[in-house]
Amino acid sequence: MATLDRKGDAVVVRIVYDGPPTAGKTTSLRALAERLGQGQVITPEESGGRTVYFDWMEYTGGRFEGRQIRCQIVSVPGQRVLAPRRNLLLESADAVVFVADTSRSGMAESRAHLDQLVRRLATQPGLPVGIVLQANKRDLPDAEPIEPLRRSHGLAVVESVAATGEGTREAFVFAVRLALDRVREQLRLGQLQPIDPREESASELLAQMHALPLDHGAWELWPTQTEAPLNPTGSPPRLPDTSVPGGWIWPAINGRILLQEAGLGLLGAPRELTPDEWVADTAQGWRFHSSAEGLFLDGEAGRAALIRWAQLHASLTPWLSPGRCIALCETGDGRYRLWQVVRTETSLWKRLTETLQTRNAEHISAHFSEAATLCTRAAQRWAQAPWDLPCTLETVGAIDGAASFVSLMPEPDRVRPAQPADRRARLWQQLRALVNAEFGELHFLRDAAG
């Protein structure tokens, strides 16, 4: 949401560049930076030329109601598994530039991604967020007609060739116009708040993203074992198994039993998700995950981290899905890695999107009604937890009828004490958007809202 920088006498708006992977979001930002001749693009991390967190640039120009306009221009990571990071950015957008890959090979994914974006933005509380469609790669010989894209959601379209910068300025200025429409409405409603500019910086955004888990529902869509890992660093690390020493696993006894079950039917070697972050899946529905922060040079430091994490897990046990353990093991190259091993449980998001695909009105109605009840229960339960657990349709699932946290646990230094928050409102917004996007307002939700 736009804010007011009283010191700098500026209105601050955030323009978010969204789009499928390799559509040209980062290229667009870099071209825009060159054209606007102000500032540079900051990319906290990338892997194989792909954005891992975000790209960030700031531009101050234009005037609005006697103030400068300061634009924070941010592009999202495009890969599905990084969806929570993307969602965080979309939640803060005042306008979105959707960069579509309009080549023959990219058009289908662009369309699907745009559909998902429109649905996503509809779920967000607050004022509507405008979208500009930047139809990119128009220089390619197999560039597809853009009329179907234009018609599909009635969006303004700007054709571009981001590699040369063509069209990037127009798309950006159009997005600023949309953002200012939103600011006007904020002003009318008295919602434009002053803010400390230090709280809205690239480093603050990065800190927020570090606390997010990844979208494990996207793992099924990841490349197969035969494809090259994102950032090859040599051999994959060794996975923990039942030979892990005592004191290196939690829970002490059941953890070893779980590891035995989890280790069966591995679907190939661990894959590197992002630099130094590894994941492995099994046919029985277990996931091994180790973050970049889970790598240690000595065993004692790893063990200390395991103990901290075990304490966190223990305090959150009533809220977590069962079938979890954490283990420290040697990587095979003289270092130590901390893993969490989680049995896959179906999140509400996965369940509901699968239900929608059945196109069976009766099933849809029943499942959404159950989901609505579960969301209310989840919000109530999460409010009682001692630590702040992410509460979205992607992290909530039903275990024996109770709302449980089914996602990966954030690392210990990324977990904060519980904060008051309207979790129910957020979950309901997501639910409504899924329903409205497909079928319009349905009576059962209104009735259930009571």
Binding site: G61, G62, R63, F64, I69, V158, F172, V173, R177
Partner: protein, 122 residues
């Protein structure tokens, strides 16, 4: 909307027709941001000038509305000590801003060059 390339090409033609051409930009009225620009003087902050001019145009439109004038704003000609500035509405949401050296040209030349070349900017 014309592409940035078309905008710059148009400004190059205008610059060729105006002796003493300094700078020109196509400006989005709502945000004051430039959609395309050309300048012969790096020290002339065209982006800032465009932004402030957008506020001037908006104020003029407010004045016209308050006077209940049933007409449209076509252009604004400003004569400075050593420069001429022209603001010409291209569409209801964009305007062209041009600055030229007063010693080398005059209002008629500026207006003529702009009117001859702006159809492409619509």
């Amino acid at each position: 909307m014309p592409s940035e390339k078309q905008i710059v090409e148009t400004f190059e033609k205008i610059a060729a027709d105006i002796p003493g051409f300094i700078a020109a930009s196509l400006v989005d009225l709502d945000s004051g941001m430039t959609l395309g620009l050309k300048s012969t003087r790096p020290e002339f902050d065209l982006a800032a000038a465009s932004a402030y001019n957008s506020e001037m145009v908006k104020q003029k439109l407010k004045i016209m509305k308050s006077l209940n004038l049933k007409t449209t704003l076509e252009d604004m000609l400003l004569t400075l000590g050593d420069q001429i500035h022209l603001i010409k509405m291209v569409t209801p949401t964009t305007f062209l801003y041009l600055a030229a050296d007063r010693a080398s040209t005059n209002l008629a030349i500026v207006r003529s060059a702009v009117n001859k070349n702006t159809s492409v900017l619509v």
